[in-house]
């Protein structure tokens, strides 16, 4: 025990995390991708959502073609004349937005519901968990499909649909770990010290329930992105005019057999990189945060 350097749990986590090179690379890629997505306006030469900037005559140009507007289509263009390089960044933004927002909403709902179930126990718990069971026993893709058929297209609707299929995972996870943590003596100690309930829940229980949640959440972000891509592929995802990566692939899907490989390939690769990076990070977090494997 070195007295000099103060070791916070976060720092310990970071140190453990950094021990896996692959995971660090994954994280680096992820950060880069996020930055690129956030600053898509800056990184991308073209705003693919601005129809005035598109020219149908520039459609399906192979990578490296010089475009009409004075820049080069490094990754070619799609059938709308969208610069793929730009479209991928904007698509990334949509995909990440969908993935992250859906996850955050689901997380918020799930945590609230799960904590309530764990802390209240009894009939409340029973009712909530039945609901979760029902939700979980029904495949996400079906629910999302039906929901989206119902809600119509739109980024916001996809987010709602994904959040609606994901919240139950968090609720179950939170409840599970909250039940375990609740039995631990430190919670008893807090109760013994007559600390208020909300304080025990938020300050003592919740932070200790977070590790499994973080793992689930990272994996679920990846899942959400992939699911959104699939839904878009099936024709019920985001609108064509604001393509996510999934939508780009889906529209590129039509070009797979034709010579215009780049339309499907590059967005596919981008999606793959993002999901793999997230999964790598999630996997590493799982290892690091799992107390049973930590020694």
């Amino acid at each position: 025990m070195s007295a000099a350097r103060e070791e916070t749990p976060l720092r310990r986590l970071a140190r453990d995390f950094a021990r896996s090179r692959v995971a660090v690379i994954g994280l680096a890629v992820l950060v880069l991708v996020m930055l690129a997505a956030v600053f898509a306006q800056v990184v991308a030469p073209q705003d693919p959502y601005d129809l005035a900037q598109l020219d149908i005559m520039d459609s399906l140009q192979p990578p490296g073609t010089a475009g009409g507007a004075g820049w080069t289509y490094w990754l070619g263009t799609d059938d709308q004349g969208r610069d793929l390089w730009s479209a991928i960044f904007f698509g990334l933004r949509t995909s990440l937005e969908v993935g992250i927002l859906a996850t955050l909403i689901a997380l918020a709902v799930g945590v609230a519901v799960g904590m309530l179930a764990a802390y209240a126990g009894g009939a409340v718990d029973g009712a909530i968990m039945r609901l979760v069971d029902i939700q979980l026993s029904f495949p996400a893709i079906l629910i999302a499909l039906i929901l989206l058929a119902l809600l119509g297209k739109g980024v916001d609707k996809v987010i709602v649909a994904l959040a609606a299929v994901q919240w139950a995972y968090y609720a179950r996870t939170v409840r599970g770990s909250a039940l375990v943590e609740r039995r631990k003596e430190y919670v008893e100690a807090a109760r013994c010290l007559a600390l208020p309930h909300h304080r025990i829940m938020l300050r003592h229980l919740l932070p200790n329930c977070l590790p499994p949640l973080i793992v689930v959440a990272t994996v679920q972000v990846a899942h959400a992105i992939a699911l959104e891509a699939t839904l878009s592929f099936l024709g019920v995802g985001v609108p064509v005019t604001e393509p996510s990566l999934g939508m780009l692939i889906a529209s590129g899907y039509g070009f797979m057999l034709s010579g215009n490989y780049w339309v499907a390939l590059f967005p596919g690769v981008a999606l793959l990189v993002v999901i793999v990076a997230i999964n790598l990070v999630g996997d590493r977090l799982r290892d690091v945060l799992n107390p049973r494997l930590s020694h």
Binding site: D133, S137, L150, F233, L234, G246, I275
Partner: protein, 325 residues
């Protein structure tokens, strides 16, 4: 056990009821099927006649009541599009999907468990790392993309396997199956692999995590201390323990495999329920969608029951403990 089964059944009844209401109202809200179904040249009289024929002139609660009434009698309505009983339509497609799902599951289990065991026993070996990397990839790749790549590679470029469809079928128990004929089997391979990819990764991960955990347990060390061969330690002591989580998850996953076959069936033109569902949703063929979902829910109920039974066979603590699971 009785309690257990009863509880499951009650739950399932609730699920089915809830699902019926949700789906019915949901699909009701999407749009008017007449807009899609009827010939645009039809005049108003014709429209009204068609609406009346389909029973769409009634208010929703009446339609729902009618639906429930006949559903109790086993009739889930007549397909708007195909004009045949919806349930029959779905059931007819069911074997194809079931065959595909089972083939995928089989692949996932038969490959996934040994690979996962290996990766769990030797987490730091090259093979272990390769398996894990592979499983992350398999976890990450969207199904439709993989499917298309498979077609590109094996059907178009190499020409080894057919690109889609179900091929020749043969009859067994009065149902048509592909795997009984050479041609059918050839058609089954790619879609099965496609559908299995994700589950395979999942099984590998589960098996690996389970193995790593179980391998640390005292009883494994005790088994070795008894002088047992590594084969028995791994094949009996570890395997039987990791099968418990694997079976639980797989049971749930069989459901989602059936659901996810929607994607694979679209890509491979596999004439299963999933494809029917997508088409029916797009055509607002309400009775078929409802029939599909209800059948799926029912299927889950059955699968869950079976899984629980297997589960209790594997885990004596549940079988003999008599407690609530």
């Amino acid at each position: 056990m009785i309690v257990f089964i009863l509880r499951r059944l009650t739950q399932s009844a609730v699920v089915i009821a809830a699902m019926a209401v949700l789906v019915f109202t949901g699909i009701f809200a999407i749009g008017n099927p007449i807009d899609v179904l009827i010939s645009p040249e039809a005049d108003e009289v014709e429209r009204a006649a068609a609406i009346a024929r389909l029973g769409l002139d009634q208010p929703m609660h009446v339609q729902f009541a009618r639906f429930v009434e006949s559903a109790v009698g086993g009739d889930l309505g007549t397909s708007f599009v195909h004009g045949v009983p919806a349930l029959g339509l779905v059931l007819q497609r069911f074997p194809a999907t079931l065959e595909l799902a089972l083939a995928a599951m089989l692949l996932a289990v038969l490959l996934g468990i040994p690979l996962g065991l290996w990766a769990g026993l030797k987490p730091d070996s090259v093979a272990g790392r390769v398996i894990m990397t592979g499983s992350i990839l398999g976890f990450s790749l969207p199904t439709f993309w993989v499917g298309m790549m498979l077609i590109m590679a094996f059907a178009v470029q190499l020409g080894w396997l057919p690109a889609g469809g179900r091929g020749q079928t043969a009859s067994l128990f009065g149902v048509q199956w592909s795997f009984l004929t050479r041609d059918g089997l050839a058609h089954l391979i790619l879609p099965a692999i496609n559908l299995a990819t994700f589950k395979l990764s999942l099984v590998i991960r589960l098996a690996r995590a389970g193995t790593r955990e179980v391998a640390l347990q005292d009883y494994v060390k005790f088994a070795r201390a008894k002088g047992l061969s590594p084969a028995r330690v791994v094949g009996v002591h570890i395997l039987k323990n990791i099968m418990i989580p694997v079976v639980t998850v797989l049971g749930l996953e069989l459901g989602s495999v059936i659901a996810f076959s929607v994607v694979t069936e679209s890509v491979f033109a596999w004439p299963g329920m999933g494809k029917l569902l997508i088409e029916s949703i797009l055509q607002l063929d309400r009775p078929v969608v409802v029939a599909y979902l209800l059948l799926t829910v029912l299927l889950f109920v059955v699968i869950n029951l079976v899984v629980d039974l297997i589960y209790s066979m594997l885990d004596p603590r549940i079988r003999l403990g008599g407690g609530r699971a």
